[in-house]
């Protein structure tokens, strides 16, 4: 497959863009190939993570010799300046290139040109406002490509046409019409209409119907007569005996020159005064096995004789029925996809709600240097962190992990964060704040939903306390000693038992010390071999990188994590907060 490069205008645009990668909430990839020159397809990046490659099962499937099976992935990361999209090469054979430079990991800016393999297939990264053809999700993009391929296969039968040139030309034009509409205007009704029109043209029948299999039999999908008028459901009448025979045996029935045999006496044939009937099964491969199942019927009839169908005509009709079966199969998928998209949209809304919980900026609190990071899974998870302004002026931060995933987790996050802010506003000490939040959560949520939380409060002198409500241990790097101390949980998670008390434990983050609070998504991140990142590895990285400061530790953690997981699917939110005392 040849590909065409996107115009170079992208780099000029780039010059006008701000250097700092401030991103709007949505972003897209514009994909231009030889099949759609000048009209790039838009691929939405609204999901948490997008894997690009040429093997099925990836999110964006691109067939090109330079594209590896799993080539690169794009993830959305929350950084202090706002969300950014990062492209990470998945050890592809031909490399991932951004603006002609080979990259392993690169924060994308609007206008960036991404090339998979040097001079390979090119994508352009843009913010959501640049969507030209309407944002489409990946499956939609593939869907259309697949349908176009199916339509092209249909045209393959044409060279066989040979005997009567004139009538064959008509048939060919019928097929081309079909092809054209198939590719351009894929809607159930239009596609069926063109299948029927082509079938009427080939057969010379008076009426044509497509029936779809439904529970308990075959029901009307669409009808058309030879003058091009739609036949409504009220006019829907087919010979039941013929349909039954085709549905049962899976073999087509062609009786174009008068009805004979056992069907001649059939009540419906006589009542409808039919002289000719053609009825073909529409087949699709079943999901479970490779056995073809009848999913619909293409039914043609006439009170006059139809064209005398030659072997080729039968072949064309059979082929048409085959493609119609394919369309039915696709329709099922389209319906499922539409449903899937609706769910994805709902999730996106919930995700936005949850993201809006994360603070837009990190507080300035001398002498502390603060870094925070959160990468959600594609399935909405339940991590969040926040910094709360308290009357005493102490730096008050928290990181929480809500049990479960999806919308319930997002709602519980919102509830917890709202309750925390409300309770802190009362000016009460943090232990009482957590007791209050716990009581509220116990009253509002079932016992199997809970929140683990690590909360810390530090004065400018580095002294303060922490409370861990069932949260995995935080780590405190001691700059003077060069070792890591563990800060274990002293109490039960929030939302389980109403009478749990939350007692603060003294904490001092002295000059040169660095506090690492994280969610277990970090230590339980898995590589392809299902091994966990682990606490030992995390402690090792902290010991080595913490002396060079919070920013360095953050970037080391992220690069070590990516090097470890090698693009294996993320199963849980990964969140951490780093507090360095730079006094």
């Amino acid at each position: 497959m040849k590909t065409k490069l996107t115009p170079c205008a992208a780099s000029e645009q780039n010059a006008l863009r701000p250097c700092f990668p401030v991103m709007p909430d949505s972003a897209v990839l514009l994909v231009e190939t030889a099949d759609n020159p000048g009209r790039p397809e838009t691929f939405s990046l609204s999901g948490g993570e997008v894997v690009i490659g040429r093997r099925t099962g990836v999110d964006l499937l691109l067939t090109h010799p330079l594209v590896s099976r799993r080539h690169a992935r794009i993830v959305r990361e929350e950084q202090a300046g706002g969300p950014v999209f990062v492209i990470i090469d998945l050890e592809s054979s031909h490399g991932t290139w951004v603006n002609d430079a080979r990259v392993d990991r690169h924060v994308l800016r609007p206008g960036d040109r991404i090339s998979l393999g040097r001079n390979g297939i090119e994508l352009r990264f843009a913010d959501g406002t640049e969507s030209q053809t309407g944002a489409r999700t990946g499956p939609g993009l593939l869907q259309e490509a697949e349908i176009e391929r199916a339509a092209r296969r249909l045209a393959d039968v044409l060279p066989e046409a040979s005997d009567d040139i004139h009538s064959e030309l008509e048939k060919i034009s019928c097929l081309l019409d079909f092809h054209y509409y198939f590719g351009k205007a894929f809607s159930a009704e239009k596609t069926f209409q063109h299948i029927l029109k082509s079938a009427l043209g080939i057969s010379g029948a008076e009426r044509a119907f497509i029936l779809r299999k439904q529970q308990g039999g075959f029901a009307y999908a669409l009808g058309l007569d030879h003058t091009g008028n739609l036949l409504g459901e009220s006019e829907f009448q087919t010979s039941g005996s013929v349909v039954d025979r085709v549905a049962g045996g899976g073999q087509p029935v062609f009786m174009t020159q008068g009805i004979h045999g056992e069907l001649a006496g059939s009540e419906s044939i006589v009542a409808m005064n039919l002289r000719a009937v053609a009825c073909l099964p529409l087949e699709a491969l079943s999901q479970e096995s490779d056995v073809a199942v009848v999913t619909g019927i293409l039914y043609l009839d006439s009170r006059k004789h139809m064209h005398s169908l030659s072997g080729l005509d039968e072949k064309l009709l059979t082929r048409l029925a085959g493609e119609a079966g394919h369309v039915l199969e696709k329709l099922e998928m389209v319906v499922t996809l539409a449903e899937q998209r609706r769910i994805e949209q709902e999730l996106a809304i919930a995700e936005q709600t949850q993201r809006s919980l994360l603070p837009l900026s990190l507080p300035q609190a001398e002498p502390f240097r603060i870094r925070a990071f959160s990468r959600a899974t594609r399935q909405l998870g339940g991590d969040f962190y926040d910094f709360i302004a308290v009357q005493s002026g102490e730096l008050t931060g928290l990181l929480a992990d809500v049990s479960g995933k999806g919308i319930p987790a997002a709602l519980l996050s919102s509830l917890t964060l709202g309750a925390l802010n409300m309770e802190f506003r009362s000016g009460r000490p943090s232990g009482e704040v957590l007791s209050g939040v716990n009581k509220l959560l116990c009253g509002k949520t079932p016992a199997h939903r809970f929140v683990t939380l690590f909360l810390f409060q530090l004065g400018a002198d580095g002294r303060g306390h922490y409370i861990s409500a069932g949260h995995n241990p935080a780590y405190l790097f001691r700059g003077a000693a060069g070792h890591v101390e563990e800060l274990p949980s002293g109490s039960l998670p929030l939302g389980m038992f109403p009478f749990t008390s939350y007692q603060p434990t003294p904490l001092e983050v002295a000059p040169g010390d660095l506090l690492v609070v994280y969610s277990d998504g970090l230590t339980e991140a898995e590589n392809g071999a299902k091994e966990e990142f682990g606490e030992e590895r995390l402690r090792g990285i902290i010991c080595e990188a913490a002396p060079r400061g919070a920013e360095y530790l953050e970037s080391r953690l992220l690069s070590e994590l990516d090097a470890f997981t090698q693009g294996a699917a993320q199963t849980d939110d990964i969140t951490f907060v780093l507090i360095e005392n730079r006094a």
């Binding site: 049990s403 479960g404 079932p446 016992a447 199997h448 949980s489 039960l492 389980m496």
Partner: protein, 113 residues
């Protein structure tokens, strides 16, 4: 592998043997539902045998807690036996071992009711 539950009566204690993964989605509410059903039928003593649990996540821990509170609310008791290291670690981290009555072997656990 999804979750499998097997319930039997041992000297008046309903022992529920849990096998598989207790995680979000994979039959995760089965334990909660089972305990609820037994409590509704008047069962006061439940022992969860977790020795065949291959994996548990935080949602799974939530299920154990839900079972515990259901029994406590019904005036009964729910105890645990046969914790794998993974379950032990999670109960340790979340401080839940201070809540659950945990036993090493089943016969001993049954006698403790």
């Amino acid at each position: 592998m999804s979750l499998k539950l097997n319930t039997r009566d041992v000297d008046g204690v309903m022992v529920i043997t849990v096998a598989g993964r207790i995680t979000l989605g994979e039959g995760s509410s089965d334990i909660r539902d089972k305990v609820h059903e037994l409590a509704a039928n008047g069962t006061k003593k439940i022992l969860l045998n977790l020795s065949d649990v291959t994996y548990i996540d935080s949602s799974g821990i939530g299920e154990l807690v839900a079972g515990y509170t259901t029994m406590a609310g019904a005036g009964g008791t729910l105890k645990l036996v046969g914790l794998t290291n993974r379950v032990k670690d999670l109960l340790q981290i979340t401080k839940l071992y201070t809540v659950f009555d945990v036993h090493e072997d089943e016969a001993h656990a049954v006698r403790s009711f």
